[in-house]
Symmetry: C2
DNA sequence: TGGCGTTCATAGGCTCAGGCTATCGTGACG
DNA sequence: CGTCACGATAGCCTGAGCCTATGAACGCCA
């Protein structure tokens, strides 16, 4: 019998993921018999069963599970070879899949796109917006090249570099503009509007306000823009990151105030798979993003 | 263009190693045009040159060097998948390529072979004898599954487990049998017969005798057997490991004496690639070897 | 219990990737 | 300047791998 090929591993990895020959075949863009035969051949090469063909469902054997893990690793490394070649051709060109969290994307991306277009003409930026958890998962699966999120990220396989640090600002109805800026403790007594679950900015805001106190009655919105509009309508107050202020505060009858020290802040950074061959290129991209961010201010 | 295959990587790795299309092709058991075409295709897929076709010799580009390193890694991992399957089938079966240093092999292997044959009927032991440096290189290149050498080994990619500790014994002409056992310092005044360069036992013997003193006039032999025969001929004295004594001392008119404490000793152990899927099986093999060694005593 | 649907395996046929031999182009070297 | 060494190219051939069609096994439900 012949040797193992990457094709075997790709098909098997798909089967491991879907637990179903037909769907795995579809994911690989081949017919079910094609995938079936290749899996069978892989089992013949290894001399052991990888899957238990149950009537309604396919389950991996222990060996199958072990193999799936290693197969993923090998496929990942093989796919990285393409990036290795790209990285060796001077400044980065071609598609760059960049994830950005929603509380950063609308405020930072325009400047980033503009600056990158000027500084990296051959680059084809493909931004994607999602919450941190999603972005990190996509990164790990190599469906993204890099992501811009709030640091720190506690993920073993990733490298990160900070891009900027920004304060959280208080947004309240314009009628309150002349009142003294409330302390964190005082904030706790007000109706605070927050983003939905999953947004890191929500957690950071809660951490600041609720430090030492129980979480209070709040309301949720799906974007900073929504929150500010609701504040303008007198529903309550909210916090927004500094970079959102120029855009959002202009669009509603609200007043923006800097909080008293110690001001809450967040660090925005760029992360990528530690093992990507594009690391050096991404560091350069991070430099350009940093530049774009400070020029924008 | 199509995707990268393991075949591409195998051919390229061979080319990187040989720096010559013809010889690389030969190593891969294909014709030179076949390999040429595949290399060209790999370059097309990556969109960059991997080799500079010089007139008399082929040199890798920087990218080529980087790729070769990664290719080796990927091929290694792919080859490990076979072992992964073997390891999942209960007790180890099939070929086991075991390297052994020359100062251990003749004394330990007979017992090991006998015991392994009884305890692991399906196992096909393929012993190979070479000095430590060679064995470790072969291990790293995965041309050996495990090796029995003197510990410690300072090699990052390897795991080790001790098998036994044994003393060094003094071998001198039978006429000297009644003399007091010389100290390490006194040994320095005698003509000491040693193995050739490369044998770890030589270095250990020197380390013991020459501790604190300059190395002295010595003579070299290519095996412990030779050394003992020379001692029997009255040429000088030598040290041998304990396990060699029963065999070697019987074959010449020599007397074997235990040195005064602190006796020099060496630790014999088994090593393997840290990442081999056979690790657990090899640990069991080590247990059996340990058993064989102590039963033999 | 028998018909039906779902799912994986098998069969048969086709196409092109990848192999070989033969030959060419080029630079080094005597 | 002829020759040699070496890699590239051309042309052909075989089989790996794909597809469609169909079989076989099993669960489900009437």
């Amino acid at each position: 019998m012949n040797a193992i090929t990457l094709r075997h591993l790709r098909y098997f990895e798909a089967l491991a993921q879907h637990g179903h020959f037909g769907r795995a075949a579809e994911a690989c863009a081949v017919s079910q018999p094609t995938l079936s035969v290749q899996i069978k051949e892989l089992e013949a090469i290894l001399g052991a069963a990888l899957v238990e063909r149950g009537a309604r469902r396919v389950r991996l054997t222990d060996l199958g599970e072990a193999l799936a893990a290693r197969a993923r690793d090998i496929l990942q490394r093989a796919d990285d070879l393409g990036d290795l070649a790209r990285a060796s051709c001077g400044p980065l060109t071609g598609p760059l899949r960049l994830g950005v969290i929603p509380t950063v994307a609308p405020y930072l991306l325009p400047a980033v796109i503009k600056t990158l277009a000027a500084r990296r003409p051959g680059l084809d930026l493909r931004p994607r917006e999602a919450v941190t958890r999603t972005l990190l998962d996509e990164l790990a699966a190599a469906r993204l090249d890099a992501a811009i999120v709030a640091l720190p990220v506690a993920s073993p396989g990733l490298s990160a570099t900070p891009l900027l640090t920004e304060a959280f600002l208080l947004v309240r109805p314009v009628a309150d503009a002349d009142r003294p800026v409330p302390s964190a403790a005082a904030l706790r007594a007000m109706r605070l509007l927050l983003l939905e679950e999953g947004h890191c900015f929500r957690d950071q805001a809660i951490a600041f306000c609720a430090a030492g106190g129980a979480p209070r009655e709040m309301m949720e919105g799906s974007s900073l823009s929504t929150l500010v509009q609701m504040v303008g309508a007198g529903v309550g107050v909210t916090l927004i990151p500094e970079m959102a202020a120029p855009v959002e505060a202009r669009a509603a009858p609200v007043a923006v105030a800097r909080l008293a020290p110690p001001q809450p802040t967040r660090v925005i950074g760029m992360v990528w798979r530690r093992t990507t061959p594009l690391a050096e290129q991404l560091r350069q991209i991070a430099d350009i993003v940093r530049e774009a961010a400070s020029a924008r201010a």
